[in-house]
Assembly symmetry: C2
Homo-oligomer: 325 residues x 2
């Protein structure tokens, strides 16, 4: 069951998710054709709608299942999509979700500006349909998002990236928006426990990002759809490597630093990096973190009465802990 | 007096403008040093605070002169600054306001992400201090901004850019935010005439952008601080050229198109373009438009009682009509 919890949830809230898709689609109208074209290209490229799902489940858990939750779901997906567009420009990525990155088709310039459009459109949508608190939650998350991305940029290619840096980066780039996605669901209910859902979302965000970073090292490309070693090649020093470097010999550390700074590295080179990470149990230790964050996420919402929604939110935490793709 | 109306206004509302500077400065706090560094570099590079001025005067004209107007002024300046950062990346500009563009110092990546930060910070500030209507006004303006920039991108290097295209572009990239800067001032007053100030701001925005585009062709670099022909070199077909091309011979049009599409053009080449523009009175006709928009701006606020604020707002319109730098 774990492996398909996302699919089960998608069925359970199928109608709301359909509404989210309609909202996502309807608000791309523009006289400038490239806006809906580029936006749809990335929106339709197999995103799992993970954030809208969390918003909808959080709202329902707190007793709200109206239209505003669908708008909020669409808003967090727009914002996430805007950051993907800007990320791909910043990282000079050629591919995204198994397809060409939008910037390879429409160019960096259009990717930057359509990202700006989606960001602005999100705020406009919120002013139309959502309460003021929702705007405060989301705008703060957007500040964190930008900070996280900039922090990551500053620390890229830095072999001395610390665990503290890493956590600050992933809080900003991932956990903040996922926490906001959950919290915003709670504020739509008249008496929702915002704090609990914010904490749940933050822990889920950590678990999600760390497991993603693990898969970038030991994932099966056949399952994940992407080659391993992407992060390292982009200069990102992630948790498994940070843990391994603590115990690595200075010889190993020096070699890895040289590879990190090299113009380009081969798959064999990354094989060496992976070997060192595994030798010092970097992946294992990072997996421990994922487990901890998963447990804390479950802990955060234990006060809620039992319900299908609660079960699914717990299921998401368990799914991330056991995630293999 | 006309030439120094901006200076006079700056003195008249010096205290509020000082408050705006404090807000601009205080909200750049971040653990990531590059955020305040890069932001301050561009914020302190000689911007005239034209938009905050309009917000403050508009609010005062409608009878409000409290702190929220200073916040609103800071917000529109942040948003303007964010778009400058993204513009410089999109246009690959090397210089801005007589200094190196931020992207030449901190790189494109940081410029994109700090732009995102300023944008997000603006919305957060609004949720803290401004009424809901302000958020609606500003977020719509941000959508128009992105649309205008994308429209400009799509039409760049297109010799067939029409007057209609041009107006849609400058509405989005300039007039929409200036209109919002004025309207947002009005909504802070309990009974402000939003519609009048929005119209005033839109016309001022048109006048401002068209006069800017004229200066790019016939301005005195010693006064404007930038060389002529920048727009043409960046592929922007602006109003004076659009007007001239209507009457130009097919030979002249073909030559100008070739120059527009050329890898690089010399100052002599731009001299040819300017000659053709002047020969067919392109600048003169565009100046007529500036005059019209200036008059319409004055017309929009004629219903207000006489006041220093009204006098200054009219002064701004007159200043733009006679602008030489």
């Amino acid at each position: 069951m774990k492996r398909s919890v996302i699919g089960e949830i998608a069925e359970y809230i199928a109608e709301e998710l359909k509404q989210v898709e309609i909202i996502l689609n309807e608000n791309l109208h523009s006289a400038i054709k490239v806006i809906p074209e580029l936006s749809r290209y990335i929106l339709e490229s197999g995103g799992k709608r993970f954030r809208p799902m969390l918003t909808l489940l959080s709202a329902r858990l707190c007793g709200y299942n109206g239209y505003a939750a669908c708008v909020a779901g669409a808003v967090v997906e727009y914002i996430h999509t805007a950051t993907l567009l800007h990320d791909d420009v910043v990282d000079e990525s050629d591919r995204r979700r198994g397809r060409l990155a939008a910037r390879k088709i429409w160019g960096n310039q259009a990717s930057i500006l359509v990202g700006d459009f989606l960001f602005a459109r999100s705020f406009w949508l919120m002013t139309e349909y959502l309460p003021e608190e929702a705007l405060a939650i989301i705008s703060k998350a957007c500040v964190s998002l930008a900070e996280g991305e900039i922090h990551q940029l500053v620390k890229s290619f830095d072999i001395n990236t610390s665990e503290e840096d890493y956590y600050a980066i992933i809080y900003g780039k991932t956990a903040a928006l996922i926490a906001a996605s959950c919290e915003v669901g709670a504020v739509l209910a008249s008496n929702g426990n915002r704090e609990a859902l914010r904490r749940y979302g933050r822990e889920i965000g950590y678990a999600f990002q760390i497991s993603d970073d693990i898969l970038d090292i030991v994932g099966d490309p056949g399952k994940t759809g992407k080659p391993v070693g992407n992060d390292f090649r982009e200069g990102k020093v992630t948790l498994p490597l940070i843990y391994a470097l603590r115990d690595a010999t200075s010889e190993e550390k020096r070699h890895i630093r040289d590879l990190l700074l090299a113009e380009s590295i081969s798959y064999d080179d990354f094989g060496y990096v992976r070997e060192v990470i595994l030798k010092y149990n970097g992946v294992e230790k990072a997996r421990e973190r994922v487990k901890e964050h998963g447990m804390r996420a479950v802990e955060a919402i234990k006060g809620f009465d039992n319900s299908k929604e609660k079960e699914y939110l717990i299921g998401i935490a368990e799914f991330l802990v056991e995630r293999e793709y």
